[in-house]
């Protein structure tokens, strides 16, 4: 009887795993077939106004890079505070709030930035988009930093203090170094997450058909343009949306793999 239950349970687990994998395979294969058929190297040379994606890819990277430039230092500093300096109820409260923020719907963050940045500054801008992405990123970086620092053994900190180092020196020179690989992996995964976001950008940066480096204007975004192109009636626009989705997926995949690669190298 017990053996039978065991077998049934095993079969159910395998079946569930297969169903999950089948959908993932379906999504990826559709994306690759449709994406590859409309993919052309010229997409990287022309802007959207000329039927290419160059401005969108560059724009998306600029938005994500600025968001990272804001989000990584703030998130790391907060994570260091939580793990190394904070104690008591106040710290627990911040940690809980940060965890809640991590699961906040991205459209809500987009709406929030629309209310506090876009409306006061009189219009959508690349800067507003970057802020929305940074807000998405901060709690993830806080969480990663906090968790990875908590894995550093207490004795390592004490050993630094026992050599006459001050607390901040120990944190900078030893603790962060010991947790470096984990933190970097977490940051890469956070970056991979925000680079594929649409909702926070939808009413903050919007998108643009032209190449632009002006962050005070609507800013070219790959994800928002995919949304726009997919809604257009012409076949050519939808083909372009498939190609853009394909490129975006490959980019996110590469960043994710890079994150895993770093972790695996550390483990060996």
């Amino acid at each position: 009887m017990r053996l039978l239950v065991n077998k049934i349970f095993l079969a159910l687990s395998i079946l569930s795993a297969l169903i999950g994998l089948a959908f993932l395979g379906w999504i990826l294969s559709t994306l690759f077939i449709k994406g590859l058929s409309s993919f052309h190297f010229n997409l990287f040379l022309n802007d959207l106004i000329d039927g290419g994606l160059r401005n969108l890819i560059i724009g998306q990277f600029i938005l994500a890079a600025i968001a990272a430039a804001i989000g990584i230092p703030l998130g790391m500093a907060a994570g260091i505070y939580l793990q190394e300096y904070g104690r008591g109820k106040y710290t627990t409260l911040i940690r809980d709030l940060s965890d809640i923020m991590m699961s906040a719907p991205s459209i809500v963050i987009g709406a929030f930035v629309y209310a506090v940045v876009v409306i006061p500054t009189g219009g959508t801008s690349g800067f507003a988009g970057a802020i929305a992405l940074a807000i998405m990123m901060i709690p993830v970086v806080i969480n990663t930093t906090d968790n990875m620092l908590s894995l550093v053994p207490r004795e390592l900190r004490e050993a630094g203090i026992a050599l006459g180092a001050s607390k901040y020196k120990v944190i900078i020179d030893i603790v962060i170094k010991a947790a470096k690989v984990g933190i970097m992996t977490g940051i890469l995964l956070a970056f991979a997450r925000i680079i594929g976001e649409t909702a926070p950008l939808l009413f903050t940066s919007e998108t643009s058909n032209y190449f632009s480096l002006d962050l005070t204007e609507s800013f070219p975004s790959l994800t928002v343009s995919i949304y726009d192109l997919a809604n257009e009636p012409e076949e050519s626009s939808r083909d372009l949306a498939w190609a853009a989705s394909f490129i975006l997926t490959v980019l996110v995949l590469i960043i994710n793999l890079a994150g895993r690669f770093i972790t695996r190298n550390k483990e060996n």
């Binding site: 026992a162 050599l163 006459g164 180092a165 607390k167 470096k180």
Partner: protein
């Protein structure tokens, strides 16, 4: 004259009412090895960790009594429990180094590990750094094994080598006292032997206090032994007296293995 004098010392951890150490009076003799022995929870590590005030990394502890340290140049004594300022703590820890149970190599090269404390102490001259690192590695019997790979990561060393590296790192600062908190309990017998030899060698220049669970170790290497039980110092004497002719019944019971 003892290099460190612990007088009527009591210690209470934060958020507890009852002191973990009560009324301890004990000298740490100069250029000798003093062993602290006793069953788990007797307070021997707590006492050791008071001697460089590493406890203060976690605020809220209560100290009573005196722990004074001898300044051999001026021949004056200073109570380390009076220390409040960061720079004084740093000076204290440069004078009183500490080695932990588990080896604690920093995630950097072998050279940088040994040079770390020196750089913090303000030594910037490259030749001086190199010389001091080499001297300490030689002094810790590690030089022969690592001299051709000083730039390699310290994490690649064996456990015993890592522990000797930690000793080299502490010795580099030329401390007056070194505190060892069960330094060999995570090591194999051969590495343990190497560390014990090293300790006997080091006491020519440095006074040593060592917490150990291993009574053979205490009898092999220490000159003085203190037996502690439940936060009290039961007996302190020359090591041979403690092991051959203890005055207290509790000490005798412990060293003959009747409890603990």
């Amino acid at each position: 004259m003892p290099i460190m004098n612990i007088k009527k010392f009591s210690f209470t951890y934060p958020k507890t009412e009852y002191p973990s150490l009560r009324n301890i009076t004990l000298p740490i003799e100069k250029n000798k090895i003093t062993a602290l022995i006793g069953p788990s929870g007797c307070g021997k590590s707590t006492l050791l960790r008071a001697m460089n005030r590493i406890h203060d990394l976690y605020p809220g502890n209560k100290y009573d009594g005196v722990i004074d340290i001898l300044d051999s140049q001026t021949n004056t004594r200073k109570n380390i429990l009076d220390i409040k300022k960061e720079d004084e703590f740093i000076k204290l820890r440069q004078r009183v180094g500490m080695i932990f149970q588990k080896p604690t190599p920093f995630p950097m090269s072998i050279f940088d590990n040994v040079a770390y404390g020196l750089k913090i102490a303000g030594i910037k001259n490259k030749t001086e750094l190199k010389d001091r690192v080499e001297d300490s590695l030689k002094g810790s019997a590690l030089w022969k094994e690592v001299h051709d790979r000083l730039g390699a990561s310290a994490m690649g060393l064996s456990g015993g080598q890592q522990q000797r590296l930690c000793i080299a790192r502490a010795v580099a600062l030329k401390p007056e006292i070194l505190l060892f908190d069960e330094p060999t309990s995570a090591l194999d017998p051969i590495s343990t032997g190497a560390i014990e030899e090293l300790l006997v060698e080091l006491k020519k220049d440095i006074s040593i206090a060592i917490v150990t669970h291993n009574m053979q170790q205490a009898s092999r290497i220490s000159d003085f032994t203190a037996f502690m039980y439940l936060g009290d110092l039961i007996e302190y004497d020359k090591t041979e007296n403690i092991f051959l002719n203890p005055k207290e019944k509790q000490t005798e019971d412990y060293i003959t293995g009747r409890f603990g």
